[in-house]
């Protein structure tokens, strides 16, 4: 009956602006009198600055100021969630390579850049430790994080493994990864008296407002943060990093607007990375293929200043109903910039678990899909509650059917096509989304248009589009009537756009606000003697395509434009909402072709099946599946942040040699969605964005094994490991 907007495929409403270059990203902001900032980074990883000579830099024409630890404005180190634990340029201590040692400001970018290279820094260097292998004897059990435990031990896993019918045990590892959003981080700071406007590349405008306020000792209501478009974040832009704080501080000092754009190389050292990760995984099963025990002892890279672990292991105990569990999160503090969340934190642990399960399936002689179906539970052994994950078996069955899994010959290394061996592999995918509060407003204007607002972000994922759909659906107006505004701290506040929470969180407040506006308009209509609906009970009014009808008598008709137009001023509804956190799962199936003579792996086909609750926009949801697959291919086959173990320099800090997949590396992917509303959400949605990368690396590794019978447990699976 209603004009359904939810569930359809809509192209991004801002798509034309983006592909024509009309969209203004943070670094595109033009302000009169703008100065340009460039950061000079340290060339040692550990030690102290003993002297710093800025004479040559200051002599470059156009240079306005050079700030070092000696003359940088004193700042307050913000408490968490500012992640770094210290602010550079406040003392002479060097804690990682490329740590800022100077902030140069000049009239033009070129002048600032030239000057930044002329700063003469002398160091007292100490030997740095860079990778886990440099500090094996310093590995320790990391403290629990705010949203993940340090260890989970249930039952007697060692004993259960000892007596298991079949068991597998393996060491799995992956190197440091770097987020590499295409848009580098940028900040433009503009002061007007005591008021600061920041244009910032961030996954959370409200966090920027808070953290910059803390660092500069400025009340946050004096700070307005704006961000209309983001060119990808993937976790790199979820926290506030030092360059944003510095830019606000030097702009205040100089009384002029200042812009900074990090270089690609600085994106490898300034906004976190996925920690180098190792895990020892052991699984045991009984004769019927029931899993009896899991042990997952993982170790990850940390910085000197931080003891948090960002690669989480909940999937090791939440998916399969193991009666005996031991999961431990170890870390080791090294002289590197800090690790942080990267799409997706559950990925590394899942790679070990899902690879080990594949190995166990061969030991047991049970099909990998069947082995999972025999064990999947919907029960969290830590909280002892239901997870809300009972459609996962359906994902496995539907994905397998769509992929043609039944054609798979169980024996590895027997399917050949020309020079290539064909392999099938699969993995479960799983991601936790957290709870974040949000608020929104929805305004119906006298011309019958709808403006919906929330201080959330569109990080490239489609927030503008899906929120327009949800507002339009709740009000009963077409897509074309709705404008959604975001990315401004003057709007009703919302949380960060990370951990896949945006849709699950903002959809709630927005829908409440839209329904409230709708109810207000209906109330106006039935009270308005000029309305054909006058005198009806509000529940006797139904709305479609912007028109209000009397139930059962469509000839009694009014419209938003009519009602609010006569009212003469906008009608607004507001809403606040805290979403219920959850765990979104699915399954990925891939086909690979491997030429073992030259060690070449191609991913040639993929099918993913997911339960993301109600699918709001099929097209943007499918984009997440494609993006996840692409990321997973990078993880599985190419990506590696290479750090020199002597100097701790990143020696591939560019997109030429840090290899992300290119178009011919990525096949078409078919997405299957269960599309049943999630009961915890008012609009039926679950957080989804990060789920469809988590299982891809294991699925590819499992497919490589199936193709040629070679098990690679150290990612990425490069040529040298297959010869």
């Amino acid at each position: 009956m209603s004009n359904k907007l939810v569930g359809r495929s809509f192209a991004r409403v801002e798509g034309r602006e983006k592909v024509t270059g009309a969209a203004k990203y943070s670094a595109d902001v033009a302000v009169p009198g703008l100065l340009h900032g460039v950061i000079t980074g340290s060339r040692i990883a550990r030690g102290r600055v003993t002297s710093i000579d800025t004479t040559a830099a200051l002599a470059v024409p156009g240079v306005v100021a050079v700030y070092t630890h000696l003359n940088m404005p004193r700042l307050v180190v913000p408490p968490p969630p500012y992640p770094k634990g210290f602010l550079p340029l406040q003392d002479d201590v060097i804690r990682h390579n490329d740590q800022p040692v100077a902030y140069v400001v000049a009239e033009t970018l070129e002048q600032a850049r030239e000057a930044a290279e002329l700063i003469d820094v002398r160091y007292a260097a100490e030997k740095a430790k860079v990778v886990i292998a440099d500090a094996e004897d310093e590995i320790f059990l990391a403290p629990p994080g705010p949203e993940n435990p340090d260890k989970v031990v249930i039952g007697d896993p060692v004993g259960a493994l000892a007596t298991a019918y079949k068991k597998v045990e393996g060491h799995y590892s992956s190197p440091t990864h770097t987020h590499n959003p295409i848009e580098p981080s940028a900040t433009v700071a503009v002061w007007d008296g005591d008021n600061l406007t920041l244009h910032d590349t961030t996954q959370s405008i409200s966090l920027v407002q808070q953290v910059v306020g803390q660092a500069l000792s400025v009340p946050k209501d004096k700070i307005r943060v704006l961000m209309k478009f983001l060119g990808g974040g993937f976790g790199a832009k979820a926290p506030v990093w030092a360059h944003t704080i510095f830019t606000a501080a030097v702009s205040r000092e100089l009384r002029r607007p200042v812009k900074i754009v990090l270089t690609r190389a600085q994106m490898f050292t300034s906004s976190g990375h996925r920690a180098e990760y190792r895990q020892q995984v052991a699984l045991g099963a009984d004769r019927e293929g029931k899993l009896v025990a899991v042990r997952n002892i993982s170790t990850q890279q940390m910085s000197r200043n931080d003891k948090r672990t960002f690669n989480t292991s909940e999937s090791s105990y939440m998916l399969y109903g193991f009666p005996h569990i031991e999961v431990r999160h170890q870390g080791v503090q090294l002289d590197v910039q800090m690790a942080h969340f990267m799409r997706s934190p559950e990925g590394p642990a899942l790679v070990g678990l899902e690879t080990a399960l594949d190995e166990l399936s061969y030991e047991l002689g049970i099909d990998p899909v069947e082995l999972r179906l025999r064990n999947i539970t919907d029960y969290d052994p830590v909280t002892r509650t239901k997870i809300g994950n009972d459609n996962l078996p359906d994902c496995l069955r539907q994905g397998a059917k769509q992929f043609g899994w039944s054609r798979r010959k169980p024996k590895p290394g027997v399917t050949k096509d020309g020079r290539e061996y064909v392999g099938y592999g699969m993995s479960v995918e799983a991601h936790t989304y957290h709870a974040r509060p949000s608020s929104a407003s929805v305004t119906v204007t006298p011309d019958g248009k709808v403006v919906a607002r929330s201080g959330t972000q569109d990080i490239g994922t489609g927030t503008y589009t899906v929120m327009s759909q949800l507002a339009g659906e709740a009000l009963g107006v077409p897509m074309s009537a709705v404008t959604f505004e975001l990315g401004d701290t003057n709007l009703p506040a919302a949380g960060f756009s990370a951990a896949s929470v945006t849709v699950s969180s903002v959809s709630g407040s927005l829908t409440i606000a839209a329904k409230s506006a709708r109810d207000a308009v209906v109330a106006l209509a039935v009270a308005d003697t000029r309305s054909p609906l006058h005198g009806l009970a509000p529940d006797q009014v139904e709305i479609e395509n912007g028109f209000l009808f009397a139930k059962g008598n469509r000839s009694r008709r009014d419209s938003y434009q009519g009602v609010v137009g006569r009212h003469g001023r906008p009608v607004e509804g507001t809403g606040s909402y805290l979403n219920v956190p959850g765990y979104t799962t699915g399954a990925i199936f891939v086909e690979v072709r491997v030429d073992p003579v030259v060690g070449r792996v191609r991913v040639t086909r993929a099918v993913g099946a997911y339960d993301l609750g109600t699918v709001v926009n099929r097209r943007t949801a499918e984009s997440q599946v494609l993006g996840g697959l692409t990321w997973g291919i990078g993880y599985a086959l190419t990506e590696h942040t290479v750090m020199d173990r002597n100097s701790a320099r990143v020696v591939n800090a560019n997109l030429s040699t840090y290899m992300i997949p290119v178009n011919p590396d990525v096949p078409k992917v078919q997405a299957v969605f269960i599309d049943k509303p999630d009961a915890t959400s008012p609009v039926g949605v679950k957080g989804f964005g990060e789920t469809p990368v988590t299982g891809v690396p294991a699925a590819i590794g499992n497919a490589v094994y199936h193709a040629i019978g070679r098990r690679v447990r150290d990612f990425p699976i490069t040529q040298d490991k297959l010869l």
Partner: protein
Amino acid sequence: MKNFDYAVAATPADAVRLVAERPGAAFVSGGTDLLNLMRDCAQTHDRLVDLNGLDLGGVALRGDVLRIGGLARMSDVARHPVVRTRFPVVSEALLASASPQIRNMAALGGNLLQRTRCGYFRDPGSACNKKVPGSGCPAITGENRGHAILGGTDQCIAVHPSDLGVSLRAVDAVIRTRGPRGERAIPFGEFQVPPGSTPERETVLEHGELITSIDLPFSALAGKSSYLKLRDRSSFEFAVVSVAAALELRGRTVKDVRLAFGGVATTSWRSTDAEAALRGKVLDAASIGGAADAAVRGAVPREHNGFKVELLRRAVTRALTDLGGVR
């Protein structure tokens, strides 16, 4: 990156003069590598002389050679019908290079002068003998998965990145130049300088000497040639190992052959030993195996690049097997 002057050359003589008169000057054509080198502080210039207005872009028959202008764009040369049919290895090497966008911009002369992708060379914060002579080579004991197993010294093991260069060694190309001291022709095999103790010097070109053309002599050998490139992803990536092969068979016997390798050596590496292992022999699995063994003789693997020895053997085997139609 320092400020620099920009000058547009009206004639080749003008271009040569504008660079020769200033020690810090450099030619720029496509600029696809040069600008990155300047941004990364791997090269510093105070003047760039723009060659793009010069009439050096054509591909033309000159008697028994095909003459390709030094400013010809990679994509134009790759799809040129004579290049495709009479020098397939050159066309294939160009098409396996970079991305379509870069191939549309980058000139052939500049391609041969591109610098190594060695991460230490490209990182302003790392030591590198190529960048600052005498500063040291961290790659020798460091992250050297991408580095050379052939032609390295204790000063430098950086790989020459050009695919085109590897293909030119397989077709006996000649580089024609114009410099402050006039014109000359340099066989491509003598064009590059191995690192020795001066890795900063990569070619025999003098300062201000301009590549005006690349001559490809027609031959039966060049007409039966191919380029095999192995890399870490499908496109837009330098070679881990590549093989340019050219083969002239009489019946099943190898009359003449060229074998050159990329991704494994400090220069575009021709292996006369591997060629000698085939010349006069019946092309079969045994002779190909002998050539593959000869190809890697003398290789010096390091901590992370040892796999290139075996991968090169296999790549040579595959290239010859395919090109020679060996079953």
